[in-house]
Amino acid sequence: MAVSAKEIREGVHDGFPIFLGYFTTALAFGLLTRTSGFTFVEGVLTSLVTFAGSGQFLMINLYNAGSLLLSIVVSVFFINSRYIFMASSLSQRLADPSSVPGRLMCGFGTVDEVFTVASFKGRKLSYSYMAGLIAVSYIGWTSGTAVGYAAGTFLPDVVQKAAVITVYAMFASLLGSETGRNAKAVLVASVSALLNSILILVAGLSTGLSFLISMATATVFGALIYSDREAGIE
């Protein structure tokens, strides 16, 4: 696989908006690891070895809720199972599907935003392009975590409290744009939101178990009300 400086630069260019989004979101994550009793090394290590937005937040949230290790790992797996399909889809767009290190790198970097940007590129993807795109996103995520952890205590209390909202704002923003594409998205999300709220607040279930039940129920509901085409399978 030939290395092309031009392709790397193009990847970095396309990845810049991801860098900004990841950096700000990771600030909140870094701060959250600190308030959850993680050391600086543990917080940054989480981002270095995992590189996943929602999965990492879910891990910390469940950890704080006192969930069992198995329940945390299973929940994180479930929320990440979508990557199986994103990765399968993206693997069909590689210009050179045979390279083992190239595929390992793409697999490591197949996060939601990288997947979206790369998928809409509209041409075969070189490993140089993917390396630029993934590297700039990865740097945004990991450096944001470190800065968020380190700078967290310098922020006034009200800002620290408000920073908690960044996570939920990211999820709400993803839901908003998905609803813009298909209004059924808000229906599916409402089912899991309502069920999760009832199971936790009324039934007193653990956060992890409640999350799994709510997500699974809403997924089946979604699969019933979406057409195959709307769901993106042919």
């Binding site: 937040f57 979508r82 409290k161 939920y168 923003s173 839901l175 599916v188 899991s192 195959d228």
Partner: protein, 103 residues
């Protein structure tokens, strides 16, 4: 709980679903249609439960501050605003509510 064990196990269940398909993509496309459809819809289904009720309960008595942030982020992106703008406006709304209506 051993935090390092948790971090590395979560890393494994995050990275394996991403990496394995690059080495097994032809077999995966033969899963039953309904299962594949469920996988595609799982992120949307997860979002609702990721936001509620924790976005409210994280703020305790000031749950309305969380609601303001989530609602404004949703509306901004519904009208095609970029995610960064959603997050900034949510931060402003939540901070505003916390300062204007302290519990």
């Amino acid at each position: 709980m051993n935090k390092l064990l948790m971090i590395f196990l979560c890393s494994a269940v995050t990275l394996l679903p991403r990496i394995i398909p690059y080495f097994a993509s032809s077999a995966l496309s033969h899963l039953p249609r309904f299962i594949r459809k469920c996988m595609m819809l799982l992120p949307v289904a997860a979002l609702g439960a990721l936001i509620f009720p924790l976005a409210l309960t994280d703020f305790g008595a000031m749950w309305y501050a969380g609601l303001a942030g989530v609602a404004s982020a949703f509306i901004v992106s519904l009208f095609r605003g970029p995610m960064i703008l959603s997050i900034i406006i949510a931060l402003v709304s939540t901070t505003g509510m916390l300062m204007l209506f302290p519990a």
